[in-house]
Structure formats: C-alpha cells, structure tokens
Symmetry: D2
Subunit: 205 residues, 4 copies
C-alpha cells in the first residue's frame, strides 16, 4: 500500500467518515504546508501523553504539565457538591451538562452503554469501577446517584441495568434518580409521542 | 385556463405541495375511475356540512347525522374532568394529547398561535372566545388552565401572551400551568440544549 | 368511517402523500370556504370528461369544448415532423421534451414501463397500440423511432424489451435510436459513473 | 489552548468537518492505542515527502522510493496515447476518468477552476504551466485537447475561459473538444433540463 492508501485507510475509520471523504482528507493534507502537517502529526502523537483519564470520574482531561495529580479539575474543585454523583455514558454527555451550568455535583463516565440483549454487559461499561467509586463515596456523604442516560432504547436499558444492581446494593440509603422527562426545546405537540406527553402532563407546573 | 391548469392551481395551495406534485395529483386523478373521482368530489363538497366546529372547545368534529348538538364528543362526555382546561393551538395538538390517553380534562383550541412582533395578536387566535369560555367555566368549578403550546419561540410567546392576560384576570383563584419540560423520547444528552438539561435536572426523580 | 376518515383515506393514496399529510389536507379544506370546496369538487368531478386520451399518441389532453376530434394539438399540428416518433413512458416525459423545444416530431406514450423480471410485460405498457401505430405510420413515411426512456434499470429494460420486438418487425427499414448519453447539467466528474464518462468521451466534440 | 483544543481547531479545517465532528475525532484518537496514533502521525508527517506533484500532468503521485523521476506512472507509460490531452480541474476528476477505463491519453490537472467574475483568473489555475505543456506537446504530435470540466456554471466558465485563450493560440491545428452532453446514468426525463434533452436528442443514436 502507498502512503496515500495507508492514510486513507486510517481516515476511513474516523467516526462518520466514508472512503470518499477519507480520500479528500489526504488531498487536503497534500495541499497544506509541511509545517502544518508536522504540527498536526506532533499533536496527534502527543495527545495520549498530555491527556489522561481522571482516576475518579474517568473522563479525559489535560495534564497541562502537572504531574502531582490524576484528578480532573472537576474532581479537584472543593466547591463541587460531593453528595451528588451523575453517571453518564460518555465524555460528550458530561461536557453537555457542564455547559448548561445547571449541575454542581460530581460525575462518573461509564465509557459506553449496555445494548439490549448483550451477553456480557459488564464488559461494555466501567461497572467494577462504578461500584467501587460508589462504595467509597457512600462512606463520604453521597446521597443521590443520577442515572443520566440518553432517552433511547439503549440508554433506557443501561439505566435499568444499573438500577437493578444499585438498588439492592444501596438498600435505600442513597437515592437513585433519573433525568426528568417532558417536552424539550423544539418539541411540537403534534409530533410528540405519548410517553413524552404523559410525563409533560405529570411534571406540569 | 384549462381544467388541468385550474386543478393544478388549487392543489398547489394544499399545505406542503409544490407545482410539480400538484401536477402529479391531476395525472393521478386522470388515471382513477370516474367513480373514484365522483366519490372524492362528493366528500370534499360535503366536508364542511358534516363536520362542524364545536361551540365549546372549537375543534372540528363530525355531526354524524345529529342535529341536536353543537358539542363534540369530548365536551358531551360527562366523565371528563371539568376542573381542567387545556389550551392548545390546533386540532392536531388536541389529537396528539388524546392519543396519549394521559389527559381526562377539557380542551380549548386557539386556532393558531401568536407570532413574536405581531401587531394584532388578538386576531391571530380565538382570544375573545377563550376569555368568555374561562369566565363561564370559572363559575362552574374550573381549577387549572394548562397552556400546552409547542416548545418553540412562537409557542413560548403565545403562552407568555396568554399568561399575561389571564393572571391578572383570574387573580390566583385558578392555577395556570404549562407542560413539564425535560428530556423527551429520543433525546441524547450530547445534543440537548442547556434549558432542556436544566429542566431535566430540576424535574429528576 | 366518518367523512374526515374517508377523505383522509383517499388523500393517503395520492402520490407521495402519507397519513399525516393526508390528515392535514382535510383540515386545510375544513378552513377553506364552501365556495372553494365546491369549485374543487366540481373540477375533480369534471376532470375525466373534459380531459381525454389522444387516440394517436395516448397522452391526456383538454377537449376544450371540441367534439370533432380525438386528436391532441400535437397530432393535429400539420407542421410536426411525421417521419419521427418518440416513444416515452409517461405524459410528464412528453411535457419535459416539449418544454425543451428541441423536438418537432410526434410522440407515443407507453403509459408505463416494463420492470425487470415482470411476467407479462405486454400488460404493463400500451404494446399492442404501439405496434399498430408503428405499422400505420410506417406506411406513411416514418423513418425513425426514438426510444426515450429514463436512464434507470427499469427504463433501460423497457427500451431493450421494445427494441427486441421492433428490430425484427421493422427489418432495418426504420431506424431505432436512443437518447444520447453523456454528462448532463450539474454532472461533476468526481461523482460520475464509468458508463456516463465513457459515453461522454465517445460523444465529445 | 490545550492539546485537545488545538487538535480540534486543526480538524475543524478539514473539508466538510464542523466543530462537533472535529471534537469527536479527538475523542476517537484518545481511545486508540499510542501505536495507532504514532502510525497516523508518521504518515501525516511523511505525506508530502513521499507524495509529489508530477512535473508533466501536475497530479499528486507516490514516489515509492524512486528518485530518478518526477513523472507519474501515467506520464511514464509508453502505451498512453500522446496525441490526446485531457484537461481536468482536480486529481479526483482524473481518478474518476481513469477508473472508467475509457481514456488512454494524457492529462493535465489545472488545480482548480475559474469562478465567474473572478478578477485574476490566471491565479486560480495552472494557466502558465498548461500553455507551456501544450506548446511542448504541440511540437510532439498533440492532436486534440479535451476540456473535461464539471457541467456546472463554474466548470462551464472555466472551459470557456480556456477555449478563449487556446483557440487563437492553436489556430486550428489542434482540435479543442469538450465531453459529450446527454442523459447520464440515473437521468429521468421528467426532471431533465432543456439543455440536457437538446443534447440527448442531437447525440441520439
């Protein structure tokens, strides 16, 4: 394989990229300066050494030269509410909630979700790490776990799967909640499903 | 204008229909039987005489031969909860809520919504009729008005406009509520806006 | 079934219309005047009596009060070139070619096309009428038959099917041609298939 | 800026990539192995040294270790027809024509096209190099130049611009042609524009 072919193959595996766009990426780089391509190559090579996984919430964060910590800025922040733990599937979900400014507790990133009918659900998500984190935090004032999954069949199934494990384990001492359902920005009643309308009526106010 | 041209012109004004599809409708009818076209013509001609506007909620309903009533089946139903009045923009919104089976009160169809910056909002919706209906129902046990508009700028503006009129008029005796906001079926956290996430956190449970 | 339901059912069968839009058509008509709906009904009822099929080319045309002819304006026009016969699948194809102003011969509308693997191809198109028309025109100076089908698998198959019948029947006395292939308006080389590029190279000039 | 932010900025400039997908690319790389990222970085860094521009046709090609040539495999191939020169806008156009297998001549890649109303058209394309190439090839048996641009306003304008320069320069000794127009794969008559139908009729056969 030529360099163009090898590079096209790697770009084809990028999320959402087909063969034609992968090919176009290579031609794009061919028309950039050597300096641009060297910069890009250097950042890609360094990425995994400057960005690391937080040992508490498991999200990726920039070390920014620090070598004294494995904790991200949220977990290091003494002003975050340690009685709340929001469990999300992915880093992008955490970022979306942070952007809203509506949540001041801590997070746990599962690193995935549990598909319906999967055989080994415990291998799809950071299950062992989640249970260990909850055990530690339970001894340090944790009062509520928010299962914040997508409102999709796979997201709902993941939340159900976790609730099934957590409810017996926690025995009522810690509340397990889910995000409130209702009409969301952009919802039109004509196109809203019955579940959403039912929740929207229950939560009216 | 020929018959084909005249008919194309009328179909072009149907909601969501452009010139090409209007033209195709005419050719479709040309290949149907005379019986089919006569049936269609008869139903169109009769539509406004067999379907009438309910004098209470203003939605369209089928008379089905009855001449003794101007009330639709919901308003005639003694089991509906007359302490609740849900205000919706259009018939399709009412149908969507009915299909959910989650609501047992009465309705009022505004017949439209109030665009932002419109000069005569009272001409866009059945405002006079709504106020008259509320006055009558207030004297007959009405306890809550649910402003159930789309979660769009125009829908929000319509609800704000109505609340501004109703709050001083009702003086606290009747609750004015809105549909609960939150994540709806299909919502993904990554793509959810901050407002929706904030409501979803407030309404968690 | 109610009038609304019956009318929705009929609109659902219109080309390209789903249940939701069919329903919307009914509500649209409910908000029109009785006069509008009567006009629409009258045109639909009259359509098949004022528009008839040309006995020569089989396209639909407006009688416009004439009772002395069953021939459309093209077939009545003495200036059209009677040595050319273009065979098209549908009326809309004929209209598209007429709009281009590039063709001055006569037409024959097949009324459909022949799907691949269909069992009785002769029932899908006006085959008998086409052969009879060609026989008559062959005795009156016809020199070329243009098989003008869509460049789709079904269109190509229809043209192949007709050529297979016509070539032995005409025995070389009358030319059988097809539309020229090449790059068309909007074509981008990057997205053009090999067949199109091959024809475009052959027909370059 | 952090490494994630810097890398996101670079990916945002990739063709067709918005901020969200750029961000996703970074997370994708965070979950790859260091080996994968090193391989990718190395290929990107090497790209412009292993791939070079052919001095004859100006397309990009892989050196594959060779240091004795600046000519791509097409220009080195003694079996290609040197009486034909196809002028294309971009490498991808050349690849599309090669894939068709229908052309055995040589190419010239303009490196762009000439927008309508641009002030300095000669800076948008390799104009000087094209004229020099044509001069040299004219002395070596060149008989035809095929202006193979997209059938878009900008493509047509580029071909017109080049023809305007080449016709007086070549004085009839060398033919200047364009790709044949007509119906292309997938064309439906109903949606074909008048130009395409006119060419399809002229080129019928």
């Amino acid at each position: 394989m030529t360099t163009i072919e090898k590079l096209t193959e790697l770009f084809k595996k990028f999320p959402g990229i087909g063969p034609r766009q992968a090919h176009r990426f290579v031609y794009y780089l061919l028309t950039r300066s050597q300096q641009h391509n060297d910069d890009l190559a250097k950042l890609i090579g360094l990425l995994r050494t400057t960005v690391t996984e937080c040992t508490a919430c498991h999200r990726f964060f920039e070390m920014e030269g620090r070598i004294d910590t494995q904790l991200c800025d949220i977990d290091r922040d003494p002003h975050r509410d340690r009685t709340l733990l929001m469990v999300v599937s992915r880093d992008v979900d955490l970022e979306s909630v942070e952007k809203s400014g509506a949540y001041k507790g801590l997070y746990f990133v599962l690193g995935g979700s549990v598909p319906i009918l999967t055989e080994k659900p415990e291998e799809r998500i950071r299950q062992k790490e989640l249970l260990e984190t909850i055990r530690q935090r339970a001894a340090n004032g944790l009062r509520e776990i928010i299962l914040a999954m997508n409102v999709t069949p796979e997201g709902d199934h993941t939340a159900d799967y976790l609730a099934q494990i957590l409810v017996p384990m926690l025995g009522g001492g810690i509340k397990i909640s889910r995000l409130g359902r209702g009409v969301s920005t952009g919802s039109e009643l004509e196109y809203s499903d019955s579940d959403t309308l039912r929740f929207a009526l229950q939560n009216r106010g």
